[in-house]
Each structure stands twice: as structure tokens, then as C-alpha cells.
């Protein structure tokens, strides 16, 4: 609080001690009682400035205060302040001053040189202050700064402070506000301050703000004409009004993301699509009022500019898909998720619309309409499709997968998640029938995959596959793994995580078949893989291995020794929950070859304080070290490490 009111115990009015229990009670000043010793020896002057000593009622008229001026006069005064530093000082004076200063638009700041000449008659207390003002007046407010307000700190006062504070020092470019359900949240007042003070705002992101309504966004639309990216998430008070004014005020809009805004509908999206010629990316999730009409007008208006489209949890039907298929001439990334009213016909029409010529990445999740027929149409209709991700699809069969792989000639990456009807035959079938550019395949949680129980006939290998990822498919076993090894000799990145069915028996042949060296290997959560695998890997692929994750495998010190001796390029090693001990760590540290950057030994209970010197030596190159759940390492040791390895980020 104001220092003017702070009375400390040492500054007594009278030697006998203060008789005033509460010095602010004005009535006590009107008459000094007889028991008060009025004489006090000369000492340093009281810190209280004269007017406040006589703050009794009858003296109020003599007190001059700028508070008598109405807001408009104070505005006239404050807008004549020459520089950002002065405005910042004024913002700190009181709430009222902050409100007024933050509402000054940049074109309202007066630079009237003639009356500023009067300044010469007044002494400036900070003589060097003039220097700073000159420098910052020349600067271009290019929106270099970004600010993020979260939770309780998301208030109007802070927004006003930001608006004033960033104005002369580079300008605010990005603003992220993450609200909470507090009563004192952000309202239109705060956003008005931002719109007046931050004309260079380019990115605005508002999450969870129930108190922000159309008023606030209309202010932004009026002041921030350079807005390019807008992100609205869970702001139920925002309606089409806001989007209409944003469409008029912010023609440079390129990215629009709307999630969970129940009152935004077709008109708003139509307006934006019509008025913003540079609209590149639109992502809409969970807006029940948005329908086919909005999507159709979006696609037709932004046909040549829209490149990324993401639609999730909307009430759109096959009509929208047809429009996308026909008008999505510039679309490169398309994502459709949780669309309950879309059927097979929609996908078929989309593929046959022949408009999606530039489509490179297509993601479909939890849409009932994805069937063999629909998918094949997509494969044929999108000749440049490189990446396809399919999730939660219950209808896709092995045949559908194979015919898709055949049809999509440019396909480079395929991801299947929870497609339970796909079996190992479909998996291998797609590898055999894929195009020449097929680089990466990923299966996650596909319960239909079981181990191969018949041998595969000799097949031409799939030379293009570089990345393999199979996660949490419990049926996947050694036979499949071995067959994969033979089929794909050029693998570089292998991820086999959460697979309890694979053991050394299946993995070793894969290691031997890989002619190109393995670069990234992730075997986390495969409890049946052990030291043999690691030793073989270090031996065969030590020259190329960069990342190795053995979280939860049965690895012991022997494995670490093998790594230390052979893996010269290894920079990221994770041996969490393995049965390694101090000697393994020591072996790593002693190695001349290795320059680890990231090491995780979390959950290794046999690693104790004795490893401290080894960790210290490794720490010379380490950037990240994970020591969580290492019960045998004492907190003293951890503190020592933290001190010593100041360059490294240590988790403990």
C-alpha cells in the first residue's frame, strides 16, 4: 500500500510514544489533547507529507488533488505524455490511472511539439531519462513480445498493465489467456485495453473464459488489424457477432481454431471465409450449431487458400464431405474425427470428387462411415496422399487395407490405431502391396493382430520401409517379428513397445536382417527382451545407433557394457526399471566412445551413491538426467549432482 500511510514505530510524533492507536483516524488530529507533549526535539522529519497530517474534514477543501478531474480531462493529460516510460509510471499510480492510460490508442498519443517546448521551463528530476525516451520513440512496434496469463492471474488489471508495458518496448505479438472459473476473470475491459495498446497483436488465444463475450472480441477486431491467428476454446459467451466483426476488422486472418463454443454457428464461419482471403487453417471442434451450410460456404469461399482443415465432433453430414471432396483444391492436411452423421457414401463421394489433388495428410478417427469401399475411393481419388492415420475404425478389413495400400501409390506413412478387424494378414499384405515410397508403418492397440502361425512364402523385400512402430498389440509375437525382419531389411527406426509376446528368439533375426544400421530403437515395456538382444544390437548396429529405449526390459550390466564398448553415436539412453547396478554405470562412464546427452535410470533401485563419480563424468556432456524413483540414491548425493551438473536438467 501507499508508503504515505506507513507509519513505523520509530517515527514518533512525540517522545512519549504514539497515542493514536490508528493514526488514520482523522478526528484525532483536530485537537491535540492536553496529555500530549507537543514539543519534540529536532530529528529527522516525519515521512508524512504535510497535507495528510491535517486530513480532518474541515481542511479537505485546501487539499489539491488531481482526483477532482473527470476521466476525460485526465485522459487529455495522460495522452500528452511523451514516452512509454512515463505512461508506464502512470499505470502504476492507481487503478483509475491504469484504466485511463490503457485506453489511449496509439493514434491518440499527442506529439504536439509546440507545447512540449514548455518543458524547458520545468526541471526534469531524471535528467538522463530523456535519453531512454528518444531511443524508444524510434522503435517500430513490431509485435515481438508474447505474454501468457493463466488461472488466477488472468485479470483485467494484468491485461491493462501488459497493454501499457509492452507498447513502447517492442509491442505485443502473442497473447495467451488461460482462464479459470474465478469471479474476477478477464472481461471486455481487459481486451479493450489490449486492442488500444497492442495494434501489432498477431496471435490471440483464449481458453476457458466464460466471462469474455462479444464485446471483448469486437474491441479486438477494432484495434488489432494485424491479427493472424485466433484460438477460441471453451468460451461459451462468444457468438457469431464476434466472428462477423473479426471478419471485417482482421482481414489478415490465417488460422482459426474454435473449440467448445456452443454459440458459434454457420453465419460466423461464412463471414470469416468470405472476408479473409488468406485463411489457411481452420479447426473446429464441438460446436453443435455448425452445420453443412457453414462448412460448404467455408470451402467454396476459401477454396484456393484453405490448406489445413480439421473437423471434430460436429453435426455435419455427407454433404460436407462431398463439398470438401469437390472444393478442397488447396487442402493438404485434412482431419475428420468423431463425426457421427457421416456414412460410407460421404467418403466415397469425397474420394470421387477429384478435388483433393493436393491432399498429403489425412486423418480419420471414430467416424462410422469408414469402410473398405470408402477408403479405396479415397486412395484412388487422392493421388498425392502421403500420410494416412486411421483410428477407432471397426469396419476396415484386411482386404480393404490391402486395396487401399494398392490404390494409394504415393503413400509414405500409415498409422492404424484401434482397428480391431485388421489382422496380421492385412498388415503383411499392406507391406507387400504398398507403393515404392512407403516409409513408415505404425500399429497401435490393434487387438486383431495375432502371431503368424503359417510361414510366409518367399517374397520380394519391402526396400522402402524405414520406420516400424508396433505398440500394445498383445497378439504380436516372435514369428511375425522374424518375418518382418526378412521382409524389411532397410529398417532404421524400430519401436516395439508394450509387447509381451516378443522375446529374444524373434528379435535377434530382425537385428541380423537389418542391413541398414538401426538408428532409433524403442523397446519399452517388453519384459521378455534381455541382454542378448542388447549385446547383439550393440555389436551389429553400434555404429549407427543414436537412441535406445529399454524401459522395463530385462537388462543388466552386461548390456550396458556392450553399449559402452560399441555405440559411439548413442546420445539418448533409457534404462529405466532395468536391473542395472553401479558397475554398469561405471562402465558407461569409462567408455571413451560414448557422449550421452540424455540418460534415464529412473526406477533402478540398485543404482546407489557409489555411481556418483560415474554420473559426474557422464554429466559433462549430459543435458538431461532422470533419477526419479532411484531409492538407493540419497538426497545429499542428488544435491551434489545438481550443483555440479549445472548445465544438465536433472529430474529427481
Amino acid at each position: 500500500m501507499s508508503k504515505l500511510f506507513s507509519f513505523s514505530g520509530t517515527d514518533d510524533f512525540c517522545p512519549g510514544g504514539s497515542i493514536y492507536t490508528n493514526p488514520k483516524e482523522s478526528s484525532l488530529f483536530l485537537s491535540l489533547g492536553r496529555h500530549v507533549d507537543v514539543y519534540f526535539p529536532s530529528r529527522k522529519r516525519s515521512r508524512i507529507s504535510a497535507p495528510f497530517v491535517f486530513s480532518g474534514e474541515r481542511f479537505e477543501k485546501k487539499k489539491s488533488s488531481i482526483e477532482v478531474l473527470p476521466d476525460e480531462c485526465l485522459f487529455e493529460i495522460l495522452r500528452r505524455l511523451p514516452g512509454g516510460q512515463e505512461r508506464s509510471s502512470c499505470a502504476c499510480v492507481s487503478r483509475r490511472w491504469l484504466t485511463i492510460v490503457s485506453n489511449i490508442r496509439s493514434n491518440e498519443i499527442s506529439d504536439n511539439k509546440t507545447t512540449q517546448a514548455l518543458d524547458l521551463n520545468y526541471e526534469s528530476t531524471d535528467k538522463k531519462g530523456g535519453d531512454v525516451s528518444e531511443v524508444e520513440d524510434e522503435d517500430v512496434a513490431g509485435g515481438y513480445l508474447s505474454r501468457s496469463l493463466e488461472g488466477k492471474k488472468a485479470t483485467d488489471v494484468r491485461l491493462a498493465a501488459i497493454a501499457v508495458g509492452t507498447a513502447g518496448r517492442g509491442g505485443l505479438g502473442k497473447l495467451f489467456i488461460r482462464g479459470s472459473n474465478s469471479s474476477r476473470g478477464v472481461t471486455a475491459v481487459g481486451l479493450r485495453a489490449i486492442s488500444r495498446g497492442c495494434p501489432s497483436l498477431r496471435v490471440l488465444s483464449l481458453w476457458n473464459l466464460a466471462t469474455v463475450g462479444d464485446g471483448g472480441l469486437c474491441e479486438i477486431a477494432e484495434g488489432c488489424h494485424q491479427l493472424q491467428k485466433l484460438d477460441l476454446c471453451h468460451c461459451p459467451a462468444i457468438t457469431n457477432e464476434s466472428l462477423l466483426s473479426l471478419a471485417k476488422g482482421c482481414p489478415d486472418l490465417t488460422d482459426l481454431t474454435i473449440e467448445g463454443c456452443a454459440n458459434i454457428g454457420n453465419e460466423g464461419i461464412q463471414a470469416i471465409a468470405r472476408c479473409c482471403p488468406n485463411l489457411k487453417s481452420v479447426s473446429i471442434k464441438d460446436c453443435p450449431l455448425l452445420g453443412d451450410q457453414g462448412i460448404a460456404s467455408l470451402l467454396t469461399s476459401a477454396s484456393y487458400s484453405l490448406s489445413k482443415l480439421k473437423l471434430q465432433a460436429l453435426n455435419i453430414t455427407d454433404v460436407s464431405l462431398a463439398v470438401i471432396g469437390h472444393y478442397g483444391k488447396a487442402v493438404t492436411d485434412l482431419s475428420l474425427a468423431s463425426l457421427p452423421n457421416v456414412t460410407e457414401k460421404g467418403f466415397w463421394v469425397m474420394g470421387n470428387g477429384h478435388g483433393l489433388q493436393k491432399l498429403k495428410s489425412f486423418t480419420v478417427k471414430a467416424c462410422r462411415g469408414v469402410t473398405d469401399l470408402g477408403l479405396e475411393a479415397i486412395g484412388k481419388g487422392c493421388p498425392n496422399l502421403k500420410q494416412f492415420c486411421l483410428g477407432k475404425c471397426a469396419f476396415l478389413s484386411d482386404n480393404g487395407l490391402v486395396s487401399f495400400a494398392k490404390a494409394a501409390g504415393s503413400l509414405e506413412s500409415l498409422e492404424l490405431e484401434e482397428c480391431h478387424r485388421v489382422t496380421q494378414f492385412g498388415f503383411f499384405g499392406s507391406l507387400i502391396n504398398c507403393g515404392a515410397k512407403f516409409k513408415a508403418i505404425s500399429l497401435m492397440n490393434c487387438l486383431g493382430i495375432k502371431d503368424l502361425n503359417v510361414g510366409l512364402p518367399p517374397l520380394p523385400p519391402c526396400e522402402s520401409l524405414r520406420s516400424l512402430s508396433i505398440r500394445n498389440c498383445p497378439g504380436f509375437g516372435d514369428a511375425s517379428l522374424a518375418a518382418l525382419g526378412k521382409l524389411c531389411p532397410q529398417l532404421q527406426n524400430v519401436e516395439l513397445s508394450g509387447l509381451h509376446g516378443i522375446t529374444d528368439v524373434g528379435f535377434l533375426p530382425l537385428l541380423e536382417s537389418c542391413e541398414a544400421g538401426l538408428v532409433k530403437v524403442n523397446l519399452s515395456g517388453c519384459p521378455n527382451l534381455g541382454d542378448k538382444v542388447v549385446c547383439k544390437m550393440a555389436d551389429l548396429h553400434g555404429r549407427t545407433l543414436e537412441m535406445l529405449n529399454l524401459d522395463g526390459c530385462k537388462i543388466s550390466d552386461a548390456g550396458l557394457v556392450a553399449i559402452a564398448e560399441n555405440c559411439r553415436l548413442l546420445s539418448d539412453l533409457d534404462v529405466s526399471k532395468c536391473t542395472i547396478t553401479d558397475s554398469g554405470i561405471a562402465a558407461l562412464a569409462c567408455s571413451n566412445l560414448i557422449d550421452l546427452q540424455i540418460l534415464s535410470v529412473s526406477g533402478c533401485n540398485l543404482v546407489s551413491d557409489k555411481s556418483l563419480p560415474s554420473l559426474g563424468k557422464l554429466g559433462q556432456t549430459l543435458l538431461g538426467l532422470n533419477l526419479q524413483q532411484c531409492k538407493a540414491i540419497s538426497s545429499g548425493a542428488v544435491d551434489l549432482l545438481v550443483e555440479q551438473l549445472w548445465r544438465c536438467d536433472i529430474l529427481f
Binding site: 507529507s49 499510480v93 528530476t125 524510434e138 517492442g170
Partner: protein
């Protein structure tokens, strides 16, 4: 009645009546409007202005009208000086002049008086502004802290130009600021100045990791990392990450 000397009568809030030439009175847009849209012979009430203030205002208007019309031989510099002396009054009068200029809509007087007050504000820190103008600080502690943090130019703690002060370092502090390259950075923790660094020395490095060893055990130990980025002419954005250990 000659058109060159039409007079207008003005009555103030304390019932004083002034008779002035039309040319002088219509410097006020308000009076001009009332005069042109009302009965020209009646007295115009300016009930929000007192006699003293109106008298001063009419002096001002007269001076400016005469100098513009060439009736007085006064150079622009002399007029500036006259204006400067005109506003050398106590605060109460100055504020009354502002209120009156606003109410009567006299553009140049409003400009003059407001600029005068603005010049009084210039160069002062917030506490000094509050003292000078008797303003009550109605911020809560947190709000004031937040506003100051965001508006940290150089509240001149150390007498230097553009000193960026990071006050009261807590255990893990991230701080970002844009400052000019002539500035210094000063870090204060537990009421001790633990680090002073000149920005220009940081200018050539992309990121610096420095761990400062304490001279005496009671000084907090600071691990700092600084990333800097050029933002426009002469400005640097600095992103500080401090880890403090007492």
C-alpha cells in the same frame, strides 16, 4: 451596434458578470454554440466556472485573439513565454482551468494546461506522482506487484539509465523483458544486490549459463541463464531463468 465590437455577457457560478468582446468569447466553442443558437442579447450562464477562473480564461483568450489578429505586437516566442507564465499557478487553479477549458471547449487552453500537467508527471516515479498530486493508491498488493512487473522500465533504483531490475528473486524465477542495449540488469535477492550485468556484454552471445559462486555463505546462490534476441533497432528481448538457492 458596430459589428467590430459586439459584446457578450457571461455570468459565472458565483453570480459575477463579465462583458467581453464576441471575438474573445467565441474562442470557447461552447459559448459560440450557445450564442449562435440562442438569443444574442441575453446573458450566457457559465455556471460551472467561477469568477476568478473565468477572468483568467478571458485574459488568455484576449491575448491569443489579439496576437492572432495582429492588434498586439508580440512574437511567437513571446507568446510562448506568456503562456508559460500563465500556467505558473498552484495545482488547484490549474485543475480548475482544465475543468473550465474542457467544459467551455477551448482547444488551445486545454492543450496548454494538460501539457503542463503532463510535464509535471514526466520523469517521476509512481510514488512521486502520488505525492505530487495527492492520489490514493487503491491497488491491492498483488495487483500493484503485477502492474509494476509488467512496466519495469527503470524505476531508477541504482541511478543508472535503463536499469532493468529483477527484484526479490524467488526460488525459480523466469523473467522476460525488452530493454534497450544501453541498459543494465540488476538482480536483487533477499535485499542484496547479487548480480549486475551490462546488456551490451550479453549482446554477442546467444545464451549464457553462469553459475555464480557466493563470496560469503549468506549470499544467495544464483544460477542464471539468459537468452537474448534482437527485436528491432537497439532493443533486446531478454529471457531470464533464475534458480536461486539460499
Amino acid at each position: 451596434m458596430g459589428s467590430t465590437s459586439t459584446k457578450i455577457k457571461l455570468r459565472t457560478s458565483d453570480q459575477k458578470v463579465f462583458e467581453v468582446e464576441k471575438a474573445v468569447a467565441v474562442q470557447s466553442q461552447t459559448i459560440k454554440y450557445i450564442y449562435e443558437n440562442g438569443c444574442p442579447d441575453s446573458v450566457i450562464h457559465v455556471h460551472s466556472v467561477s469568477g476568478d477562473i473565468l477572468s483568467k480564461i478571458l485574459d488568455y483568450c484576449k491575448k491569443h485573439v489579439n496576437s492572432a489578429a495582429g492588434k498586439e505586437d508580440i512574437s511567437p516566442e513571446e507568446l510562448y513565454e506568456w503562456d508559460a507564465n500563465f500556467v505558473k499557478v498552484d495545482q488547484n487553479t490549474l485543475f480548475d482551468l482544465i475543468l473550465a477549458a474542457n467544459c467551455l471547449k477551448i482547444e488551445s487552453l486545454l492543450d496548454l494546461t494538460c501539457q503542463t500537467v503532463a510535464n509535471m508527471i514526466k520523469g517521476k516515479r509512481p510514488e512521486e506522482i502520488r505525492t505530487t498530486f495527492n492520489i490514493k493508491n487503491d491497488y491491492t498488493i498483488e495487483a500493484e506487484e503485477a502492474v509494476r512487473r509488467e512496466n519495469k522500465w527503470a524505476f531508477d533504483m541504482l541511478g543508472g539509465v535503463g536499469t532493468m531490475v529483477i527484484e526479490e528473486l524467488a526460488d525459480d524465477t523466469m523473467s522476460k523483458c525488452v530493454t534497450n542495449t544501453k541498459s543494465r540488469v540488476c538482480v536483487i535477492a533477499a535485499n542484496q544486490i547479487v548480480m549486475m550485468r551490462s546488456i551490451s556484454k550479453l549482446a554477442n552471445k546467444k545464451s549464457i549459463d553462469v553459475y555464480k559462486q557466493p563470496q560469503n555463505p549468506t549470499t544467495p546462490r544464483i544460477k542464471e541463464s539468459v537468452k537474448q534476441r534482437n527485436v528491432g533497432t537497439g532493443f533486446i528481448e531478454l529471457f531470464f531463468h533464475f534458480k536461486c538457492k539460499m
